[in-house]
């Protein structure tokens, strides 16, 4: 209801303002006989901006601070003699009960008289607050409209000003990406530092035992939070994935870019890229029901004890996921090696494979290394495959056929179903997240720099 009123009001104001600007500018032009600097459309938009920006600003402020003000008001409505007898936590609880009653959602149990009283006051306060804000927005909007209308003259550079606002808006949008990174870094750092007030960072980064005993209270610092077993599991799974994906992906890219007939290429390349579009949860399921049992059966026939969920299963399936990633990145890079180098080598009598191995691959090496680093970054950040297929056993083991656990799996385990972040059990997820973020950041930046240099070399 509220949002509908606001939207309707804004729309009406907007239409009114646009119309005013449009017709006023034409009238001004006609009466003065001068040519308008900007077309009437821009005058319309110009006036509309004048109206909407202050009105939206007021309502934005209300949306941002209104709840806080209402909170304060609700708190002030609790009679002093009752408030004195309540713990801080109970007051917070009472405030939320009052707000719930006021909003009409209802609460568990009968409301106490003071609660009902406060809720009535609160709802009235909120209604008045809302009306005042709407009124203020409307008055300011109309005031701005009249002001802007008065400023319309033929020489007004309406278009330039409108365009400046548009540019600012575009700039603000590209700020979102920056804000995201800032948000990631800030939230990971803040929560990780809270975690380190429970656990010594040295114990975390160099501990070799992972055993965060879950206490029902969710607090208390008992348990071991050693990162090493998780990091080792991550490295092991990623290594297996790369060992499988690099030869297959790279050779596929070489074949497709250097040997395959264009018609074959046009069919096979999209087929392989299908693998890239499959959600990772599907790979996880594939690992669980197909690859795991297959590997374990294979192990049984050769007398090897391979567990169905193990580092090998997860690594292998992750490798499948990474194949298209490596092959399409490598393909791009191989195709950037100039044809003239190929001709030069072939012209000397080299066979195609000699040309590829001795000229094209060395020339493309930096770019391919960059692609590999991006793939590694992807492998260590991958979650669902390892959640389902790695066996979730955070013990320092060196046998890839045994279950293992990774940083990402542990983040999911520690944080799922818990949003209070009170104890180290859930906060550790952020310390792990920070580790993961820093690791991938280093890999990504290195890879992106290498690939960029490579591209510039052949541009």
């Amino acid at each position: 209801m509220n949002s509908f009123v606001i939207a309707a009001m804004l729309l009406v104001l907007l239409g009114l303002a646009y119309q005013t600007g449009w017709s006023r500018s034409r009238a001004v032009a006609q009466s003065s006989g001068q040519r308008l600097h900007s077309r009437p459309i821009y005058h319309g938009v110009w006036v509309a901006l004048w109206v909407v920006i202050p009105a939206a600003l007021i309502m934005g402020l209300w949306a941002l601070f209104g709840p806080g003000v209402a909170d304060q008001f609700a708190r002030s409505q609790i009679p002093a003699e009752i408030a004195a007898g309540l713990e801080p936590g109970q007051i917070v609880n009472a405030v939320s009960r009052i707000k719930a009653i006021a909003s009409g959602f209802g609460i568990i149990g009968e409301p106490q008289p003071f609660e009902a009283e406060a809720a009535r006051a609160l709802s009235q306060f909120q209604l008045y607050g809302f009306l005042i804000v709407i009124l203020a927005a409307a008055i300011i909007g109309i005031g701005a409209l009249l002001y802007a209308r008065g400023r319309i003259v033929p020489g007004l550079r309406a278009r330039n000003q409108v365009e400046r606002v548009i540019t600012l808006l575009l700039l603000a949008c590209s700020g979102v990406a920056i804000l995201t990174t800032v948000g990631i870094v800030a939230s990971l750092l803040v929560e990780a530092i809270r975690f380190f007030t429970f656990i010594n960072p040295l114990d975390f980064f160099f501990g070799t035992v992972w055993n965060p005993r879950f206490s029902t209270t969710g607090t208390g610092a008992e348990g071991d939070y050693g990162l090493i077993p998780l990091l080792w599991g991550t490295i092991m799974v990623a290594t297996i994935a790369m060992l499988f994906a690099v030869p297959v992906g790279l050779m596929a890219a070489i074949y497709l870019s250097q040997y395959a007939h264009p018609r074959v290429r046009n069919v096979v390349k999209p087929l392989i890229e299908i693998l890239a579009g499959i959600p990772t949860i599907v790979y996880g399921f594939f690992a669980l029901v197909t690859v795991g049992p297959f590997l374990s059966g294979l192990g049984a026939t050769v007398g090897l004890d391979i567990r169905a969920t193990s580092a090998a299963t997860a690594g292998l399936v992750m490798g499948i996921m990474i194949i298209p990633f490596i092959s399409s990145l490598s393909d791009d890079i191989l195709r950037q090696v100039p044809q003239s180098l190929r001709d030069g080598s072939l012209g000397l009598g080299a066979t195609q494979s000699e040309t590829i191995r001795r000229v094209i691959l060395p020339a493309a090496l930096p770019g391919i290394v960059g692609a590999f680093l991006l793939a590694v970054s992807r492998a260590i950040g991958e979650t669902m495959i390892v959640v389902l297929a790695a066996g979730n056993s955070p013990v320092l083991r060196f046998n890839p056929f045994e279950p293992t656990s990774t940083v990402t799996v542990t983040i999911v385990n520690q944080l799922t179903g818990d949003s209070d972040f009170a104890g180290p059990q859930s906060l550790v997820a952020f310390a792990l997240g920070l580790t993961l973020f820093v690791l991938t950041l280093i890999l990504n930046v290195a890879a992106l720099t290498i690939v960029r240099r490579f591209r510039e070399q052949y541009d």
Binding site: S340, R342, D343, L346, G347, G349, A350, P362, A363
Partner: protein, 274 residues
């Protein structure tokens, strides 16, 4: 080789008139046509290319001269959809014979390209590449000797002898092109094909390359495609004029430039078509 050493800079050279028939022709083309898919790019070209002399192919761009050049060491094989009809023979062996090995052929007929294309390796490795893949050197010392000799023949050794292990891509354009010539020489070919080898170079570098071509003539059969009639006149003993995929006229360079039989050749030479 010693005969040409005393010659003045080719820039000031006038057209020389050695008789191209002084050398027998081991390389012959007979009714060669080339198709790219449906399109025919070359029509029934027949020509004899004399040994140990320079033959130049001239003509406006798109006339088929480069296409024909690439037929001679079968570089057209690498182009999708290209098809060659007719016969090119070296010592009476058809280059398009099923039993012929392209790898072996290209070791005998080397090629230098329009744009200098040194590999992103050291100068030494660039020249050593061919001998290495073909297994021409018996030992490391042998390989070194081949590399040095080739660089010397290409007139580059003095300039690069102190930096043999630095990347070949760091050289100037003219040096790069001479490096590519050294790279082709190192395999020990009998024929060297040059596809507009100077089109990416400045006049001074061009002059040096032209001088080099003249020197190489005593040991190699050289076929050069060029845009520049002056260049053809300066370096070649035999010239062939191509137009619209057809070989219009061929003969001793001097005759072509002074007394062409065909009107189209004359039009091209005098700048009326091109």
């Amino acid at each position: 080789m010693s005969a040409t050493e005393t010659q003045a800079s080719p820039v000031h050279q006038t057209v020389r008139t050695p008789d191209p028939n002084a050398h027998p022709a081991r390389l012959k083309a007979d009714a060669v046509s080339v198709f790219y898919g449906e399109k025919q790019a070359l029509f029934d070209v027949s020509i004899d290319l004399p040994e140990k002399s320079v033959s130049a192919f001239i003509g406006p761009s798109g006339c088929g001269k480069s296409t024909f050049l690439r037929c001679i060491n079968r570089m057209n094989d690498t182009i999708e959809g290209a098809r060659v009809a007719g016969k090119i023979t070296l010592d009476d062996h058809n280059l398009y014979d099923q039993s012929l090995d392209v790898v072996e052929l290209r070791a005998r007929i080397g090629m230098v390209f329009q744009k200098p294309n040194p590999f992103p390796k050291s100068i030494f490795e660039n020249v050593a590449y061919g001998p290495k893949i073909h297994g021409l050197a018996r030992s490391k010392a042998d390989l070194e000797e081949i590399v040095i000799t080739s660089l010397q023949k290409a007139g580059l050794f003095e300039e690069v002898k102190d930096r043999l292990h630095q990347p070949g891509t760091g050289l100037s354009g003219g040096q790069q092109q001479r490096l590519c010539i050294a790279r082709a020489i190192a395999v020990g070919p009998e024929v060297i094909l040059m596809d507009e080898p100077c089109s990416a170079l400045d006049p001074i570098a061009t002059a040096i390359i032209e001088e080099l071509i003249d020197e190489l003539r005593s040991n190699y059969t050289i076929i050069i495609v060029t845009h520049s009639m002056q260049q053809a006149a300066r370096v070649s003993q035999k010239t062939a004029f191509f137009h619209l995929g057809k070989l219009i006229e061929e003969g001793p360079t001097e005759e072509i430039f002074t007394n062409p039989r065909e009107k189209r050749t004359q039009d091209y030479i005098t700048g009326r078509i091109g």
